[in-house]
Subunit: 138 residues, 2 copies
DNA sequence: CTATTCGTAACAAATTGAGTTACGAAAGGA
DNA sequence: TCCTTTCGTAACTCAATTTGTTACGAATAG
């Protein structure tokens, strides 16, 4: 796979859980909806659980469910849960210390990117999981 | 390297060109500022040239220069030039057609992501290369 | 006690980005 | 004309990442 599918997959996972509000859903079931391996789903759900978005129960009859109402989970929270948050992607190479541009540009770029990322997250924050479910003909 | 450094590197490249408005700059020179290989820089500059942001000249005395004034180049244009624009990253796996969530969720997610990406680009569009240069102590 | 299910480690396969080498094409100067 | 410089681009290697897979221990219900 080329790019990071974690965010889109995580939204899909959450939607499946939101569609079964009364019962726990197994990773096998979610995996069959995504047509992937249960372990891939459990890894995603581990991130979502750490962020407090889902709860899990082990053992027979166990599985996953949303930890809050779908209306109180937004796409920004899901993105924050499953995306890297290591700041902007600079080359790991040390830039040339004798070049005045190279010496000073990183924080300038980082600030602009941080603002853009904040705008993206703000937009994702306007869409709740309940909004997503409403648009599905289910 | 872990994540995509193309955008941050491209801004750095453009800043170096903006710092030499009167002359062509060789890929060797830019590469030494970024502490990387000239071919890596030329690949970046090829994308920027295709977007009409820089111009190149071959041969002795040749090199690269900005194709417009730094005030008329913004970070959104640089990002658009060097980033993939294949839309949101879905898993290449076909999702389960018997699951109503899986059957219908992709366009809903895609629309939300498109709006978020537009917000990010709008924010990047507010920062011109000239703004970046002003913040550098050069 | 057994079956189920999560949690997680370990590993293979595929993909990607960066770096590198190489070489042809273009352009200027002697 | 010939040589040097420099871009344009293809081909390759290397390292890192993601996904998929197997495996197994821990927890839980019946």
């Amino acid at each position: 796979m080329s790019r990071n599918c974690r965010f889109t997959a995580a939204v899909h996972v959450c939607a499946v859980l939101a569609n079964h509000p009364e019962s726990d859903v197994t990773s096998d079931y979610v995996a069959s909806s995504l047509n992937t391996n249960p372990v891939v789903v459990r890894r995603l759900l581990a991130s979502l659980a750490q962020a407090g978005l889902v709860a899990s129960k082990r053992g027979s009859g166990g599985g996953y469910r949303l930890a809050k109402a779908a209306a109180r989970i937004d796409l920004a929270a899901i993105a924050a849960a499953v995306e890297d948050d290591d700041g902007p992607a600079f080359s790991p190479n040390p830039t040339n210390p004798t070049c005045p541009i190279a010496r000073n540009i990183k924080p300038v770029i980082a600030e602009a990117i941080a603002r853009a990322e904040a705008a993206r997250m703000s937009e994702l924050g306007k869409v709740s999981l309940a909004d997503v479910m409403e648009k599905l003909p289910v």
